[in-house]
Every structure is written in structure tokens, then in C-alpha cells.
């Protein structure tokens, strides 16, 4: 029987010899068992299929959400918790607002592809100083597994999901942090199906109503005299997006017996991290407090993406079919202890862990740090947005 996971359990696990927390959660498509779902496609439109050995037979499976994609979703879930004020999380944001930008937007350290080490932050400025040369950014130059305090303060998700500071002062030899949390969703007994494509035109324009002729400026006309140079032959109405499209059938989509999401939080990965404060070795208690907060954050993120259901992409919405259970993997062969953890409980444990970490002397960024993009980047973005707007206006003018 699973018992509710609390902060003490996490501390005990980190202090002992246990290898990992692992959760294996089963899902079904939102449309019910047997409904078709669409996994991600890769180069060439192919799916990532594989065979797994289950209960003595080889079962065809398909990847529904990769390790990288799951990590992105978990980071976004944490970001949303922060933005709605429900949970604390250090965030560094590059702010593309103001400066008469047609479409303002912001990019946070949780959304940038390489997290806090991303080139976008490197090329942005804090009070006019390039980020990595500013006081806060400089701290990142010396982070390492034995000296992870600055990352704990500014971007703890980098310690959970991994980071490679490949554009810092050491370039490609920059510090690498091993990811501690790995998650993946796979569909079992996967049978590939077909997908249809077609279009029914509400105005029922027939092919015989043409031919139409292209005009200069991208529009079209029925009058041959107005045709642009070289377009006097005429084209079908379907080539200007009018009329029906004959249905075609291509390979697409899968039915599965169920989807399985496996998430593992590696405890040795967290145990490697040390957190000196102001250059001095803080002692085992402080290290434990930091590692506990990171573990709690990881478990919280994993729980968030489970309870919401997995809305992975168009026509791939899955719901968990059972409660979320975490096993604590210790001595192989011995039975694993089981825990359950609801979203609310996970949030509570996480907040408590952060609080205890702060109380033990660890730094934690409570307020958002806002960077401004460099003048040049801002100029480029503005120019690009203006160009894009011009094209749209042009098209609108021609159609009317």
C-alpha cells in the first residue's frame, strides 16, 4: 500500500543508498480505449517504433513523447505554477517589450533551449552590461558539481534537467551537468493506421468554373487580359485554394492497448552536487537541504504533467487511468517502498523544501530578473516583425 510522500521520506532517501524514485503511469486516449492517437513524426514522416519484450512476447510499441519533449513540458508546467503565483521558482527573463516593437514577447530561462546557458541570455543585457559579464552572470563561470550554489539560486531546473555551458568562457569544454530526471511516454501494442485528407469547399466551386489567371501582386482574375506576364495559360481554381480536394489515404496514427509513462529521478545524480556558501564548505545539512529541494522540485514537475493529462499534440490527448505511484528503488531484489503524491501534496512538499533550504543559508532568487535584449537583436526583431506585417497587409489588399 502506498503511503503519502513527505519531505522526511525524500531526505531519508537522499541520505541513504537508494538509487531512484520511479513512477510508471498508464494512460488511455481521451476518446476511450482503442481510439486512434498520433505520435510525433520524425525526418521523412516516420514514427519511432520499437519492439519491447513484455510477459514473454515481443510487442510492437511506438514513442509518444521523447525524453527531451517531456523535459520541456515539465519546465513549462513549473513556469506556469510560478506565473500564477502558486509556487516559487527563480526565473531570468529576456524582455522583448516596449521600444515600439509591433509584437512584444518574453523568453524565460525555462523556455530558452539551453536554459540559463542559452545564447539568447548570453547576448542580452542587465542594466546595460552583457549578462555573462554582469555580477550575477559571472557567477555561472565557476559553477561545477562541487560548486552548484549559483545555479541553485538562479536556475535550479538546470540541475534537474541538465545543462551544458557551451558558450561560456570555456566554450565547448564548458561545464556539463548531468540530468537527474528522465521521462518518456510509449504506446504499447501499437498498430499503425491510415489517415485521410480531403477538403469540401463550402462555395462548391467547380473545376469548370476556371481557368483563372495569376495577376501581378499575387492575386488572380478570370479575365485573361489582366493576367501577369507569362501566366496567360491559366490554372485550375484549386491552385488558388478554391474547390474540393479529392480525398487521399496515407499512413498515419496508431491504436495502442495503452500508453505508459516512465519517469525516473536519479538520486546519485543529486548526491554528487555540493553547495558551498560564500566559498566555504557548508556541511552535510546544507547539502542535504539543497538536494532535497531539487528532488522535491523534480517530483513536483513530474506530478504536474501527470495530473493534467497529457495533451501531447493534435489528436494525441491521453488521460492517466490510475493513481500516480512512486517506487523508491533501493537494494535490487528487495521490494520497493511505494508512495503516492497528489499535485497539491507535491506542491506543499516543494514549498516546504525551498523554505528549509533558504533557512539553512542557501540563496534563492525570489524576484524575477529581467534582461533586455541587445540593441542589435531588438533592431533585427523589430525589422523582421515589420516585414512580416507588410506581407500580410499586401495580401489583404489584393484579395479585397
Amino acid at each position: 500500500m502506498p503511503s503519502p510522500l513527505n519531505l522526511e521520506d525524500i531526505k531519508e532517501a537522499l541520505s541513504g543508498s537508494a538509487a531512484a524514485f520511479r513512477s510508471v503511469t498508464e494512460y488511455q486516449p481521451a476518446g476511450g480505449p482503442g481510439d486512434k492517437i498520433f505520435p510525433p513524426t520524425y525526418e521523412g514522416g516516420r514514427y519511432a517504433v520499437e519492439k519491447r519484450y513484455l510477459n514473454g512476447e515481443e510487442v510492437p510499441c511506438v514513442l509518444l513523447d521523447s525524453v527531451q519533449s517531456q523535459a520541456n513540458r515539465m519546465e513549462l508546467a513549473l513556469l506556469e505554477e510560478r506565473e500564477s503565483g502558486r509556487a516559487p521558482l527563480p526565473v531570468i527573463t529576456v524582455d522583448f517589450t516596449g521600444d515600439d516593437l509591433p509584437k512584444p514577447f518574453r523568453v524565460t530561462s525555462l523556455e530558452a533551449p539551453h536554459r540559463i546557458a542559452d545564447a539568447l541570455l548570453r547576448d542580452s543585457e542587465m542594466d546595460g552590461v552583457a549578462f555573462r559579464r554582469a555580477e550575477i552572470g559571472k557567477r555561472l563561470d565557476t559553477v561545477a558539481a562541487r560548486n552548484a550554489t549559483a545555479l541553485f539560486e538562479l536556475c535550479p531546473t538546470a540541475l534537474v534537467f541538465g545543462m551544458w555551458d557551451s558558450t561560456g568562457p570555456r566554450g565547448g569544454l564548458g561545464v556539463k551537468f548531468q540530468r537527474a530526471l528522465v521521462s518518456e511516454i510509449v504506446g504499447l501494442h501499437a498498430q499503425q493506421g491510415v489517415r485521410t485528407s480531403s477538403r469540401i469547399d463550402p462555395t462548391q466551386i467547380l473545376r469548370g468554373a476556371g481557368p483563372v489567371f495569376r495577376t501581378t501582386g499575387g492575386g488572380w482574375t478570370l479575365d485573361q487580359a489582366e493576367a501577369a506576364e507569362g501566366n496567360s495559360k491559366g490554372i485550375r481554381p484549386s491552385e488558388v485554394n478554391h474547390g474540393n480536394v479529392t480525398p487521399t489515404i496515407t499512413d498515419g496514427g496508431f491504436t495502442i492497448s495503452k500508453a505508459v509513462q516512465t519517469t525516473v529521478l536519479s538520486l546519485p545524480a543529486l548526491r554528487r552536487l555540493r553547495f558551498p556558501i560564500n566559498g566555504a564548505d557548508p556541511g552535510a545539512q546544507v547539502d542535504l537541504a539543497a538536494r532535497t529541494a531539487l528532488a522535491a522540485q523534480a517530483l513536483f514537475a513530474a506530478t504536474l504533467v501527470r495530473e493534467q493529462g497529457a495533451d501531447l499534440r493534435s489528436r494525441c490527448l491521453l488521460y492517466p487511468t490510475g493513481p500516480v505511484v512512486w517506487e523508491l528503488l533501493d537494494r535490487p531484489g528487495a521490494e520497493a517502498r511505494l508512495f503516492d503524491l497528489s499535485t497539491d501534496a507535491a506542491r506543499g512538499v516543494y514549498k516546504q523544501a525551498v523554505q528549509e533550504a533558504k533557512e539553512s543559508g542557501l540563496p534563492w532568487l525570489d524576484h524575477e530578473i529581467v534582461l533586455k535584449p541587445s540593441r542589435q537583436l531588438l533592431a533585427l526583431v523589430r525589422q523582421s516583425q515589420v516585414l512580416a506585417a507588410e506581407i500580410v497587409t499586401e495580401e489583404a489588399e489584393v484579395q479585397s
Binding site: 520524425y42 519511432a48 562541487r146 569544454l173 548531468q178 525516473v264 537583436l377
Partner: protein, 487 residues
């Protein structure tokens, strides 16, 4: 005895095969595990006792292993965002060009350029593997290794999470270091490996590859007690990698080319068991290497096309001798890729063959399909008679010749021999479709016929009989009479 257990926590391993960057490596090579232990020591500034434990381990030689088969995820190219876009300098007075806009916008996440990367994944039937060394370490070494195992986070890519521990009661190994022909070469750590890794770690360089050791399936060394022929009951199977489809009728021309290739590539002077000739060029009186065609037969749509070849090695040879001569022909190169054998005649065929290493190849390419215990055997290629039966009851004489041929290869006399122009095996051609072997002395044709032999007791294969047995004629395969097909 000390054993290390490794459990892959996600159920799969993400590590690239060193010989083929698009395939995953399975099982994990012992050196890869050693490197993970060493990395755990370096990255945590471990105490000297850990270092001593690693020094002890590298001096132990290749471990025996237990690992199950695996399947592969079909490797997709994933496009991973890069982290090196930068801004070019812009002139204040001029609007930026489209090129500059595009380049600059690449800093934004949605416009970031992506680099193709591959993440090959192997999914083992059982996610736990064991490495076993027979020697007994001291208590300190045992403790040191235990501590290191507890620190290991991953083996392979950073997502390939594992749990490692020192196991007191490992299961029986199924993959062991062997002499002879290497079916599975694995990279292992030897003395000096830790020093090399330490040096590379301290100067931020990648480790170089360690040395290779030959591994093979753990099997009993001695021959089975049941009746068997003079050939070893494990055939060396070569699969066709590329080349046009050819049928059993092409057996002679292909085995001739294969023999030529082996003779050419093996260490010179060519030993008698490969050439089949004594030093004075007379035919050898001892069994020698036989080249067998492996066809697709035995099912409804079979047409006898060749999937590969097998080499039947005489069982009086030492494994080390077989390895010495055949590794340069069929074995692994320095970088871990398999050598290929080229069969080429300038126009009719252009074949490449490679040692069959898959865990579950097609039935015809499994040694067991041709060597398993059976009472009744039928030909796939016809048996060649080295002389004509004369006078009365030619058929009876021919049957006796087949019985004698069995004895000549070390098998018991069969109870019954049935000769025919067609064979019991679906897909194998009529005997007249096969080109004739010719007598050396006067180029006369040697007669051949298909046959079914039934022994009193089951025997082990391979069963190859008659004058053409070293070149692929007279190859038999077990027959099931009651219910269902072979295999």
C-alpha cells in the same frame, strides 16, 4: 568472485555502437562500465580506496557477462537546437539585410537552427546485466567497488540512467571470453586504463578506445555425446549483405569463389584443413573445411534462393587454430566493424558476405536448423556419387554408397536410404537443375541424386555426404514427418 550488476532504470540503454554510429550498443561493453565507474570516481573527488579498487579491477582481464537479447528502436534523426548563433555587427545608418535578420533571429527559440543528432536505443529483454570476475578481491577493494557502483548515474548517454551495485549471487554467465573466431568483440579495460582515463579527464580530452576481447556464447566445449559427424556442430554462418538473388543451382560457382577468398585471406601458408590439399598437392585424407549453401526452403512460398553460406569446420581442430586462420577473413577489424567477404565474377554476381551476428536471424541462417538432433534427414543439394553403379540392382548399389558415405563422415550407417530426383524440402530444385561436378581425371560427369536417410537413433548435424560435400553438394537438413514443418 566479484560481480557487478547494472539495471537500466528506464528499461533501455542509450549508447552508440562504436563501429556504427546509427546503431545502439548492446550489451554494454565492459570498458564502458569501467569508464562509468572511473567517471564516478573523478566527478566526486573520490577517496584513494576507490582508485585502488579500480586498479585491481583493470588487472583482472575480461569479465564473463550475463545479458539477454535486445531489440532496437528504429533510429530517428532528432533535430536539436544549437547554442552558438550570434549577431553580426549592424551598421547604424542602414537597415539590416534579410540575411542579417535571419541570422540574428536565430537567437530566438522558435527560429533556432537545429543540428541533426541520433539517439540510438537498445531495449533488452531483461534490463539487468551482470559482469562477473572469478578472482576474490580484498575487503577494501570490494567496499571500494561497492561505493563506486552506488555513485554511477548513467552508462551511455545522459538519459541512460542505471543503478549499479556489487552482486553476491549473480546468475550464470551466458557471454564469455573465447579464443577462436570472435562472434562478439567487446571493448575491455586492461592494465593502464585507469591512468589513461585520469590523464584524459584532467586535460579535458575524450578517452581513446580500449582494447578488444573476443566473446562468444557460453557453450560446452566438448562435443555432444550423441552421434555426430566429423564436423563441428556449430557452423560459421555468413549472411548475404548485398548482391543479386541467386538460387541453389548456383551453389558450385559461389562456393568456389568463397573458397578462393578464404584461401587468399587466411594466413599463408594455407593450412591443410582449409585448402584440402596435402603439401604435395594430393587431396587431403583428413576432413577439411566445407562450404555449404544456406537456402530459403521449407515453407509454402520458398524458392530456394540463397540467404548466405556456412563454413563447417572439422571438429579435430583447436578453437585457437580456427580463430587464427579465420579471424583475418571473417573477424573484426581494429575499429570494431566486421570484415566482409567479396564474391565477384565480373558480371554474373557481386556478393558481399558477413558473419551472421543477429540474435534471431532467419531460420536458414541459424546453425541449429542444420545441426540439430534428428533421425530423418533429406537433401537440399543432391548427393554426388564418385562412381557409377554397374550391373544389376543399380539402385541398391547407390543406396549402399550413401550408407558408406555416412560412415566416411563419422555417422552411423542409416537404417534406410531413399533416392529420388526430387527432394522432400519445399523450394529446393529438382536434381537435374544442379550443374554436374566433373571428375578431375577425365572430366566425366559425376551422377547426383536427392536422398532421404533415416538413422536408427537421432544424430547431430551437419550431415554432408558424398563426393561434393566440401563444395556444398550432399547437404542434408532434418525432416519432420509428423505434423508441421521443420523448426
Amino acid at each position: 568472485m566479484i560481480a557487478i550488476g547494472v539495471r537500466y532504470l528506464m528499461g533501455w540503454s542509450m549508447a552508440t555502437d562504436s563501429a556504427d554510429r546509427e546503431r545502439p550498443e548492446w550489451p554494454p561493453h565492459p570498458d564502458r562500465v569501467f569508464m562509468a565507474l572511473a567517471a564516478a570516481h573523478f566527478e566526486t573527488d573520490g577517496p584513494d580506496s576507490e582508485r585502488q579498487a579500480l586498479v585491481w579491477l583493470e588487472g583482472q582481464g575480461p569479465p564473463e557477462m550475463r545479458a539477454t537479447e535486445s531489440t532496437e528502436r528504429n533510429t530517428m534523426t532528432t533535430f536539436v537546437p544549437v547554442n552558438d548563433p550570434g549577431l553580426s555587427r549592424l551598421r547604424k545608418d542602414r537597415a539590416p539585410s534579410l540575411q542579417q535578420i535571419k541570422a540574428g533571429l536565430q537567437l530566438l527559440p522558435e527560429h533556432r537552427t537545429r543540428q541533426p543528432r541520433q539517439f540510438p536505443v537498445a531495449i533488452p529483454h531483461d534490463p539487468t546485466v551482470y559482469l562477473v570476475w572469478p578472482a576474490d578481491p580484498s575487503q577494501e577493494v570490494r567496499k571500494g567497488l561497492g561505493a563506486l557502483c552506488g555513485k554511477v548515474v548513467r552508462i551511455g548517454h545522459s538519459a541512460s540512467l542505471v543503478q549499479a551495485w556489487v552482486e553476491d549471487a549473480p546468475p550464470t554467465p551466458n557471454l564469455v571470453p573465447v579464443e577462436g573466431l570472435a562472434h562478439h568483440p567487446l571493448r575491455v579495460a586492461g592494465p593502464g586504463r585507469l591512468d589513461h582515463l585520469t590523464g584524459q579527464y584532467l586535460s579535458d580530452r575524450r578517452p581513446e578506445r580500449s582494447r578488444w576481447a573476443a566473446y562468444g556464447q557460453a557453450r560446452p566445449q566438448s562435443q555432444p555425446a550423441e552421434p555426430h559427424s566429423v564436423f563441428h556442430d556449430a557452423l560459421l554462418v555468413l549472411r548475404r549483405v548485398s548482391g543479386n538473388t541467386l538460387g541453389l543451382e548456383s551453389t558450385l560457382i559461389l562456393t568456389e569463389k568463397l573458397r578462393d577468398a578464404v584461401v587468399k585471406q587466411c594466413p599463408q601458408p594455407v593450412p591443410e584443413w582449409i585448402s584440402g590439399h596435402e603439401p604435395d598437392r594430393r587431396p587431403s585424407r583428413h576432413p577439411h573445411l566445407a562450404f555449404l549453401p544456406l537456402p530459403d526452403i521449407g515453407h509454402q512460398h520458398a524458392d530456394g534462393h540463397l540467404l548466405g553460406f556456412a563454413l563447417a569446420v572439422p571438429n579435430h581442430l583447436e578453437r585457437a587454430e580456427v580463430g587464427r586462420c579465420l579471424n583475418p577473413v571473417l573477424g573484426f577489424t581494429q575499429n570494431g566493424s566486421l570484415r566482409r567477404v567479396h564474391l565477384y565474377d565480373g558480371g554474373y554476381f557481386d556478393w558481399w558476405l558477413e558473419l551472421e551476428r543477429r540474435e534471431s536471424p532467419p531460420v536458414a541462417l541459424r546453425s541449429s536448423a542444420w545441426t540439430r538432433w534428428a533421425r530423418r534427414w533429406a537433401t537440399v543439394t543432391p548427393v554426388v556419387f564418385d562412381r557409377h553403379p554397374k550391373g544389376r540392382s543399380k539402385e541398391g548399389q547407390a543406396e549402399v554408397m550413401v550408407q558408406e558415405a555416412c560412415e566416411r563422415v563419422g555417422l552411423p550407417r542409416p537404417l534406410e536410404v531413399v533416392l529420388s530426383q526430387v527432394t522432400l524440402h519445399l523450394g529446393a530444385p529438382h536434381s537435374r537443375a544442379f550443374p554436374y561436378l566433373r571428375r578431375k581425371s577425365d572430366s566425366g560427369r559425376l551422377q547426383h541424386l536427392h536422398a532421404v536417410v533415416t538413422f536408427a537413433e537421432p544424430v547431430h548435424g551437419p550431415v554432408i555426404l558424398g563426393a561434393g560435400r566440401y563444395r556444398g553438394y550432399g547437404l542434408f537438413r532434418p525432416v519432420e514427418w509428423e505434423g508441421g514443418d521443420q523448426e
